[in-house]
Symmetry: C2
Amino acid sequence: MAANNILYAQSGGVTPVINATAASVIETARVHSDRIGNVFAAADGIIGALEERLIDTGSLGEDDLRALAQTPGGVFGSCRYKLKSMEENRREYQRLIEVLDAHGIGTFFYNGGNDSADTANKVAKMAAELGYPLNAIGVPKTIDNDLAVTDNCPGFGSVAKYVAVSIMEASLDVMSMASSSTKVFIMEVMGRHAGWIAAAGGLARREEHDPPQIILFPEVPFDRQKFLAAVDESVKRHGYCSIVVSEGARYADGTFLADAGTTDAFGHKQLGGVAPVVAELVKTELGHKYHWAVSDYLQRSARHIASRTDVEQARAVGRVAVELALEGNTGVMPVIERVSDEPYEWKIATARLEDIANHEKKMPGDYVTDDGFGITPAARRYLEPLIRGEDYPDYDARGLPRYLRPRLELLEPKLPGFEPA
Amino acid sequence: MAANNILYAQSGGVTPVINATAASVIETARVHSDRIGNVFAAADGIIGALEERLIDTGSLGEDDLRALAQTPGGVFGSCRYKLKSMEENRREYQRLIEVLDAHGIGTFFYNGGNDSADTANKVAKMAAELGYPLNAIGVPKTIDNDLAVTDNCPGFGSVAKYVAVSIMEASLDVMSMASSSTKVFIMEVMGRHAGWIAAAGGLARREEHDPPQIILFPEVPFDRQKFLAAVDESVKRHGYCSIVVSEGARYADGTFLADAGTTDAFGHKQLGGVAPVVAELVKTELGHKYHWAVSDYLQRSARHIASRTDVEQARAVGRVAVELALEGNTGVMPVIERVSDEPYEWKIATARLEDIANHEKKMPGDYVTDDGFGITPAARRYLEPLIRGEDYPDYDARGLPRYLRPRLELLEPKLPGFEPA
């Protein structure tokens, strides 16, 4: 191991359990205080690292860490900012190494998804090139569940649980109302390119007559007539129809059903509002009364209904990340390996960042039923263990969760200012 | 007390805890089995009562009742159907009495809001007019919290807790992202005519710098310029802006910001989709990146985050309703009376249905801050006790709540068919 301080940074969209990983990194580092100095966190992710806006987590006491571990969002701030290739923007990689050097940092943890694995990998390479001793380690996180190599991604299991529980609850509501009022309920969930989150809604449907009757996946081209026929059949048969629709639902030509028309810093389209589009279609073509919900950030911040499995895995990757650093690894990521489905067993393995960076794990084709509207037993076998167990946050006497809202002081900068590209 | 069977019916929009009331009615009736016969439930509310579609709850075992008490939605089915005045539709009131008579029913519980209190009151009058011995008793329920006389309505506290927790969580998310991405988050909540539910979002804001920074109430005419200035100020000051908007938010001339253009059976406009309207405004006028959520049915079915206070009150009104019947009361409703704010103490009192029917309790003007965007200490004092305590449902080993999905058999009809108007 190199210089003995750690820099921890969060990247991209946050999750209900990314702070559990952060707390685990800090706690594990403290266990090894003989070999590890301070754990610094970058304010607002990699941007803060480049700008030398660093937070000393040493001010967090035990109660703070307990609260941190159960707080949704990214408490140190995250960012959507992708470093360009080393050829295009060598100066940012060099600057990062300068910041690390100025603060005695020998370990860099980048807690994120595909793009972040790529960045961490490039940072590892640049450090080697410059002869700076560094353990650059990726730590997995993403609600999209689309990271390669790892069996699943911390963050996904809790979102999956939220979606399964929520569609189960809202379906019980529409069932109650259907005789004289609302007959169709539509819940929009995240998942730009893959139907992992939408598929989780299918966990609520254990018996053939259970809701949701229809899931609209990004992977299955939207067929208007087939969809309307399925809604109609469900209303005739069950009296109502409950639908989960992915924000990434699209027509055969690739056009999204709803497209807000804006793009994020990575050039991804920002989507939203497919539920009202589907609702309008149902109303116009079938005349049924409908209700629709868009869960958006609610789904990915719902720490109050986190999956215990997910929380345990989020903590485990944080702990092992520190252990990998102590062993002198670089260019790696702790990943979740499934040992068995039933009983569900898993362990943490180590993957090389270059095997993860910029790959996208697609949902297997055999997870979707032949009619395109449901999940198969194979999908259920994979998904179900991930939502198992509850891990409630502590609540205060006034009825709200004890979430951490620290006033985090920034370290004095040691370098001249820097403007990221 | 008259004939010794009970008929229980649910009415209008369901709540996360209306089934807790139902379970309490059934359990209390069983305690008094020396004086009470069967508890029948009307399938799909008053429509099922008129059509003689009745369910014998005697088939529900102890485990079923435990599951029933923690299941959202209305397990027997509800309806949006308002009986006309006795002058306009005497035949429906007479039919109801015939159904009661045919099944030896001496007690009618109507579990609903304003309209239902009115119906229960008319049923009481009609029974008296026809000389049919009946205890017609209203049982309060409505997430809108707009019933007169009662301090608060069972169902509201759990929705309030969901809204306060959810906006707290989603705000932590947007705070994390604001440096380089989303700066404005908008959450739409229910509350057609009154801002009770929107006000609950304000419970998350305990310190001046806490979110949500802006609440848009139906009671405060929407002022576009003032709103945009407030968003802009919050983004400048805090780096982000978190907003709760009521579906009933409207302009000074009464026009709703969003109006789906459809009406329900009571002639109320069906609203939805104000969040995207507000988001569009923020984007067009201020250029900030936004996210928005519409919680819709999710908020009123979220039994997984129910308020313990609310569950206790939902059960208490069910229990006292049975006791009121045993004492021979008619034309009354058990209501919640607040004894003190701090420590919070409450008891069940008895109100006359004619004092409740068709009145609408408005949110006091002094609950909204002078700027129109927040809640006052008076509002907080009233609201906070209602979200206190957690009351989690049981979960099964596969990670989902144990909600009741009974196959409820209908009783053999004893009368000729009947077509409600």
